[in-house]
């Protein structure tokens, strides 16, 4: 028999190694087992909570459906108010523009004609004497054009003529498109 071979020592090392592998594998199994148990338990708690919330939701829904008429009227009103707000803010301002121009022109000038669209306004006014137009040309019309809030881009005299006993002035007032978009955002 060969004396160099030590069978007893080799068996002890192997035993330690096998024991370590067994401990690690068991440890891993134990950790995963505990984690699985915790996760299953937590999942059950969440499912119970979810079912409780679902029940609560159904309770509220049934309470609301008992008040269906009131609910429908309130939803209808809110929806209509949103649309009304849009309608009012997007309406063109023809009446406002006309009002601004009419109030800027002295009352001594009768309005003979109006042509108004989204972007322009034409006005025909008359007066019996030429002197009446002095203040209009020198102050009233320049003041109207200078007012930035009105958004006027150009005022033109389309015609100025004598018709019968009075003078007839035709004015074209132009508005910029940016004015409407600014009014829309208000």
């Amino acid at each position: 028999m060969n004396e160099d071979i030590n069978l007893a020592l080799k068996t002890g090392k192997q035993k330690n190694k096998t024991g370590l592998i067994l401990a690690i594998s068991f440890g891993l199994f134990f950790i995963i087992f505990i984690a699985s148990a915790i996760l299953i338990f937590y999942s059950l708690i969440l499912k119970s909570k979810l079912s409780e919330i679902t029940q609560k939701r159904e309770d509220f829904k049934s309470k609301i459906s008992a008040l269906a008429v009131k609910k429908e009227k309130l939803i209808f009103t809110t929806d209509r108010l949103n649309t009304i707000q849009k309608v009012i803010s997007s309406r063109n301002k023809i009446d406002q523009r006309l009002g601004q121009v009419i109030t800027s022109i002295p009352a001594s000038f009768p309005i003979e004609g109006i042509q108004a669209t989204d972007n322009s306004l034409s006005l025909k006014i008359s007066a019996p004497a030429l002197s009446e137009f002095d203040k209009l040309f020198e102050k009233d019309l320049p003041d109207l054009a200078k007012n930035k809030a009105f958004g006027i881009t150009r005022i033109e005299i389309a015609s100025f003529s004598l018709q019968g006993a009075s003078y007839l002035l035709s004015l074209n007032i132009h508005y910029g498109s940016q004015v409407r978009s600014r009014q829309l955002t208000r």
Binding site: L22, I24, F29, L46, I53, L67, D95, P110
Partner: protein, 218 residues
């Protein structure tokens, strides 16, 4: 007999490795069959709880809003908004608004014509819509006034009447004026009414708008 002894030999050789192998196999099985699916399920449950909690809070607020609102106020506001924006093309209320504005502005309403458009079907024909999709009925009105100031008063007054309208064009010469305007309407959306449970309280701007509509509803 020979193969049995071979198996016995193999068993004896790997006997000590068998238990760790079983533990590791079980660990992997539990990891992929229990742990990972449970993590995914927990994440989904948490998301569902969060969504439903939000829905419950909304429903609770809606219920509180519905319960606290006075029935008379709800009915008044409902009728007022319905007069401002009717559910259909109602020629009678358009005529009433025009006649009332004409009376306020002291002008004579000579005639008016309405492009009613389609009565049934998706292709409505002449009926137009606004830039934000609200349908409208175009109306051409002829009025007789003393001067342009009365014409201005008429267009001003008609925009302060219900149902809501928009002036499209004014063409006035002497005592006669043609005013083209659009009256807005909005069909009731039954899907919105039946399916929606979210009832919001009226905001300050809604209340202010209702007050404005009330002042126009004289």
């Amino acid at each position: 007999m020979n193969s049995n002894s071979e198996l016995q030999l193999l068993y004896l050789k790997y006997k000590k490795s068998l238990l760790p192998l079983i533990f590791i196999s079980l660990s992997f099985f539990m990891l992929f069959r229990i742990v990972l699916p449970q993590i995914s399920s927990i994440s989904e449950s948490n998301q569902a709880i969060s969504d439903k909690t939000l829905e419950v809070v909304t429903l609770e607020k809606s219920l509180s809003t519905i319960e606290t609102q006075n029935v008379t106020t709800i009915n008044d506001n409902f009728e007022l908004t319905n007069r401002a924006l009717p559910t259909s093309k109602d020629v009678a209320i358009i005529f009433t608004a025009l006649a009332s504005a004409a009376s306020d502005a002291q002008v004579d309403l000579k005639e008016f014509s309405i492009k009613v458009g389609g009565v049934f079907g998706k292709t409505g024909g002449a009926s137009s819509t606004s830039s934000f999709g609200t349908p409208k009925v175009d109306v051409e009105t002829r009025i007789s006034s003393i001067d342009g100031e009365n014409t201005y008063q008429f267009v001003k007054k008609v925009q302060e009447k219900l149902p809501l309208s928009e002036i499209k064009n004014i063409d006035s010469t002497g005592a006669l004026a043609t005013v083209v305007l659009s009256f807005f309407y909005k069909p009731a959306d039954l899907t919105l009414l039946l399916k929606q449970d979210n009832v919001k309280e009226l905001t300050k701007s809604d209340v202010a708008l209702l007050e404005q509509l009330k002042s126009w509803d004289q």
